[in-house]
């Protein structure tokens, strides 16, 4: 991965981690990569946390991004993601479940798995903890390693960079392990 995560087409990828660990930055990077290729992506946003300004600054063409806001309703978010992964043509469907990840029945996880295989969509799930168990082809945990401040004067005026690393929790291809760190610019 080289510090950057690439969701697998036709599989489920999960990113888990605590607040400020870099999971949302990974999510933005994945969306940017898909949209940058001229493909179409969708974001199911359970808690409406998506910041369009951050995305635009990251170079994401927002016109190719379908943003679905679920008002904090996790059941609705899961149903919306289920609908989107059954629509062929999306390169990436991202599901941000936020801090309170619901329990997902195994049957539902398998439904998602077979749906993404059929439509060849990459499903990326972001949350505090893992959701789909063995149905995910790749699961990583994000960890923060350091912070840098912008300091033109004696006192810092802005957050400059955050360094994170990823730990592979589950990978159908390759062995779990630690990945190199990456810097994220604020």
């Amino acid at each position: 991965m080289g510090g950057r995560l690439t969701p697998i087409r036709g599989e489920i990828t999960e990113i888990v981690g605590g607040l400020s660990s870099g999971r949302t930055s990974h999510l933005l990077a994945c969306l940017g990569e898909a949209v940058g290729r001229g493909e179409t992506a969708a974001l199911v946003d359970t808690e409406e946390i998506f910041d369009p300004a951050s995305a635009a600054e990251a170079g994401i063409d927002l016109r190719r991004l379908l943003w679905v806001r679920c008002g904090g309703n996790r059941e609705v978010a899961l149903r919306a993601a289920d609908m989107l992964v059954r629509c062929p043509g999306f390169a990436l469907v991202a599901l941000d479940l936020g801090e309170r990840v619901p329990r997902l029945p195994t049957t539902m996880a398998f439904r998602l798995k077979f749906a993404v295989r059929r439509t060849d969509v990459a499903l990326l799930i972001v949350g505090r903890r893992r959701l789909t168990g063995s149905s995910a082809a790749l699961a990583v945990e994000t960890l923060r390693e350091g912070i840098e401040w912008a300091r033109p004067g004696p006192a810092p005026t802005r957050l400059a960079r955050v360094r994170t690393t990823t730990r592979v929790l589950r990978a159908l291809r390759g062995a779990p392990g630690q990945e190199p760190s990456s810097w994220w610019c604020a």
Binding site: F50, D61, R79, P88, S182
Partner: protein
């Protein structure tokens, strides 16, 4: 030797009013069916009462072939028709059914020839000159016509001849479903046909009857000058028709701008699930008409007749021109779910605006995108799930105000070259750190030393950077001014808080993640 082919075709659907209803209810096709006029006032003379009163009598307007085998004929009262055929099924005469079937027949004919004439309900004439190079001989044209008309749910009889009259006579009297009169054989072929098939004016028909003229051959044999002297222009026209000659100009039919299909209901529907079944039936007929002539609909209107007497009309937006039943049905049902009719439904009418399908082809190296048909369906379903306002593409507003954006309908550009490149002034040197927004920004209690925050909601601030001052719209009533701080809390979370300088309150904008 050059063989001259027939130039006109006549498509005739017998017992058309009944056929129009059978088209809507195909299960009735094999059963005796009579179409009744719903309200006929007939004077009734009562011997016991001196004055004349009126009574509403249901009379038969049309009967299908199965009913006619039992002796049911147009003009009979319902009682008389039922006495002749106890198994008789009846339906009221509905103008919309007949109009839809009539237009469908003409549109089906239009799929074969660009010049079509409306010959009345159940009759269409086609100018087939030149079609032999496209389709083949007269028999091939007849087969093509038969296929097109059967596709819309009607069973025609077809005649091909050198004139419209001869073609119509061939369709009416021909031995098979498709009858072709060879060139030059019109008079001989028509000679045995009964004169009643000409639909002459009653006085002319009565006069000819008194003369003992029973067949077209006998009429054609009469001296033309004598007919002109005795019957005038109507007599000459009858003579021309008997000879198989057309004197009337060909009046080409132009399809209407909106195509309509309707379905009356025997019972009231107050459930959307049941209504969806009716909508599917009506859409199926409409889409069959569209696909028959290679057209698509770019707008759809659903009109529901209500039991209360009113109407409930909905314009269903189609994201792209289509002729597929499934996405149309999904969109119509989702729209009616969002805007249900106020009363039970007794009639369903759907009209579509037909256009030619826009030609388009994706590039060879263009990445795959959701098919418009799939995309419009999933967007409609998502809109029903989360609300239309919570769905779309964000568009940044030209403002420095925090979290300023608006939502647009999702419509990704078809050309990948149209992708917006990152702005050079804002594009970072590395991957971008994301902010997890809290919407709306949550008001928090912040302890400070000087300006610098030390605790946020009683959580210790271990590091902070700021203030990052911003303000705007000071010239307006919605002026804003804020100091932003990036702080690291004791539990490791990095958040952005902001102090509203006008109100003096602190807000939590979100977490860097």
């Amino acid at each position: 030797m050059v063989v001259r082919v027939s130039r006109f075709a006549c498509v005739l659907v017998e017992h058309f009013d009944a056929a129009a209803i059978e088209r809507c209810e195909p299960a009735l096709r094999e059963r005796p069916l009579a179409v009744l006029n719903p309200r006929v006032d007939r004077p009734v003379d009562r011997a016991s009462t001196p004055r004349t009163s009126t009574a509403r009598v249901m009379t038969t307007v049309e009967a299908n072939a199965a009913a006619r085998e039992h002796g049911v004929r147009p003009g009979m009262t319902e009682t008389e028709a039922r006495a002749r055929c106890p198994m008789l099924l009846t339906r009221p005469w509905v103008e919309e059914y007949v109009a839809s079937a009539r237009h469908a027949l003409l549109e089906a004919a239009l799929a074969v020839s660009p010049r079509v004439e409306d010959g009345g309900a159940g009759t269409a004439y086609l100018d087939t000159a030149g079609l032999e190079r496209l389709i083949g001989d007269a028999a091939a044209i007849g087969r093509r016509l038969m296929h097109q008309v059967r596709a819309i749910g009607l069973i025609p009889r077809i005649g091909l001849a050198a004139s419209r009259t001869a073609a119509r006579m061939a369709a009416v009297n021909g031995p098979g479903a498709v009858t072709i009169i060879p060139p030059g054989r019109e008079r001989a072929t028509l000679a045995k046909a009964a004169i009643t098939t000409l639909d002459l004016a009653p006085d002319v028909a009565a006069t000819l009857g008194r003369w003992g003229v029973r067949t077209l051959g006998e009429l054609a044999a009469l001296p033309r000058e004598g007919l002109a002297a005795r019957l005038g222009p109507t007599g000459l026209r009858a003579h021309d028709l008997a000879l198989g000659l057309d004197r009337d100009p060909f009046r080409a039919w132009t399809p209407p701008p909106f195509w309509e299909e309707a379905q009356g209901l025997e019972w009231e529907i107050d459930s959307l699930g049941v209504l969806a079944g009716v909508l599917e039936t009506v859409l199926e007929r409409l889409c069959r008409r569209l696909t028959g002539v290679s057209l698509v609909a770019d707008s759809l209107e659903v009109r529901l007749g209500l039991a209360s007497g009113g109407h409930h009309a909905r314009d269903v937006a189609l994201a792209y021109p289509m002729s597929e039943i499934k996405p149309m049905l999904t969109l119509a049902v989702l729209d009616l779910e969002a805007h249900p009719p106020p009363a039970a439904v007794t009639r369903v009418t759907i009209s579509a605006h037909p256009i030619r399908p826009p030609a388009g082809q994706g590039g060879l190296w263009q990445p795959p995108a959701p098919a418009p048909r799939d995309l419009v369906t999933v967007l409609a379903r998502l809109a029903a799930l989360v609300g239309a306002g919570n769905l779309g593409s964000p568009l940044l507003v030209d403002s420095h105000r925090s979290d300023a954006f608006t939502m647009l309908a999702f419509s990704p550009p078809s050309d990948p070259a149209q992708s917006i490149q990152p702005r050079h002034d804002t594009a970072p040197s590395g991957p971008r750190l994301a902010l997890r927004r809290i919407r709306p920004a949550r008001r928090v209690e912040v302890e400070t030393i000087g300006e610098r925050p030390t605790r946020v909601e009683a959580r210790l601030v271990v590091a902070s950077a700021g203030p990052w001052r911003a303000s705007g719209e000071w010239w307006d009533v919605q002026a804003w001014a804020r100091d932003e701080w990036d702080v690291v809390l004791g539990d490791g979370a990095i958040c952005r808080i902001a102090r509203d300088r006008l109100a003096g309150h602190w807000y939590l904008d979100g977490f860097y993640d």
